[in-house]
Symmetry: C2
Subunit: 198 residues, 2 copies
């Protein structure tokens, strides 16, 4: 059986990754998703292995050292990471997995898995990105300025990705991502078994 | 402006290229198609430049020598070819062009145009291909046997194509080809102008 694809979507804060990925999953609920590992305390109602895998900082550090985490990020003193083993297992079972990864995470995925597909989601323009960040109404002028600087830096990495999708419309962007996945399954190197059977 | 893609579909006789390509054009009538050059006499109602470009054998031979024809084939004593210039012009204008080419034609396209996308259309199985050829009711047992031998040979070339699509359902196969085209437009190397503008 062909391995499931590991599809990562990266992009600057405000590009709309969350909404677009939710729409893709709506289009096809059979996609797998990754449960992150975190060092923060479980909140009420959160379940181990469903919402997160909860680990101590020591355990988390050990996982990093042993290559069990493909990427991690720090947020208000806690670590959040994507575990490698779960991705491998889902892919081996033939499940396609959608991942919301940092740029470093997508690059690590590309380096480690031949069944990876890396997509960079772009906002229509930097002006529009600024409007979206302002529209959230949750961040100071200075924080937004900082985020825009980070975004400009991040956009410089697009060249390392396989695909680029401009998110000027969530439905259209989701359809494009879905087309990329359909298309990748038709690529000749991904159909060796089929071709050998003929 | 980004160049239009030159999308070729090849495959053995009976794979269903004609029906699948007609379905793709139905999904999006904006695709360009190539008008072939032929040495046969125009039939009643056929128009120069619409149905075919009608040429003498001498003119046709000269076009081949001058590299103006990307592929050609002989059928009952007449030549049929795909002219290169028309493809270039449509592509430069930003039009995506759908082409029904021989295997040699797809390989020539791939070699000459970086905006090419080559797709091999497969029948679901050789048994099904045999059934389809028999179902046409137009060919002798021997001719069908010969076609199947040719098909087996042709299938050996799939590895040189970019994509492989199995035609077990015309609508599904057409949707896959449409997805491949959408996806190719998102590939990073095809978006250099967009990335430079950022």
């Amino acid at each position: 059986m062909a391995k499931g694809l590991l599809i990562s979507v990266s992009g600057p804060s405000g590009a709309g990754k969350g909404s677009v990925l939710a729409k893709v999953k709506e289009m096809d609920p059979s996609f797998g998703t990754s449960v992150s590992v975190t060092t923060r305390e479980p909140r009420e109602g959160e379940k181990e292995g469903v919402d997160y895998f909860f680990k101590s900082k020591e355990e988390f550090t050990q996982m990093i050292e042993e290559g069990e985490i493909i990427e991690y990020d720090e947020f208000v003193g806690n670590y959040y990471g994507t575990p490698t083993v779960a991705l491998q297992e889902m892919s081996e079972e033939g499940t396609d997995v959608l991942l919301d990864l940092t740029i470093a995470g997508s690059m690590a995925l590309k380096e480690n898995f031949e069944q990876s597909v890396t997509i960079f989601l772009l906002p229509p323009s930097l002006e529009e990105l600024e409007n979206r960040l302002k529209g959230r109404g949750t961040e100071s002028e200075e924080m937004i300025k900082a985020r825009l600087e980070v975004a400009k830096n991040e956009i410089g990495f697009v060249g390392n990705f396989d695909y680029v999708v401009v998110n000027d419309d969530i439905d259209e962007a989701a359809k494009k991502i879905y087309s990329i996945i359909t298309s990748e399954k038709c690529r000749v190197p991904r159909n060796i078994e089929l071709l050998q059977s003929l």
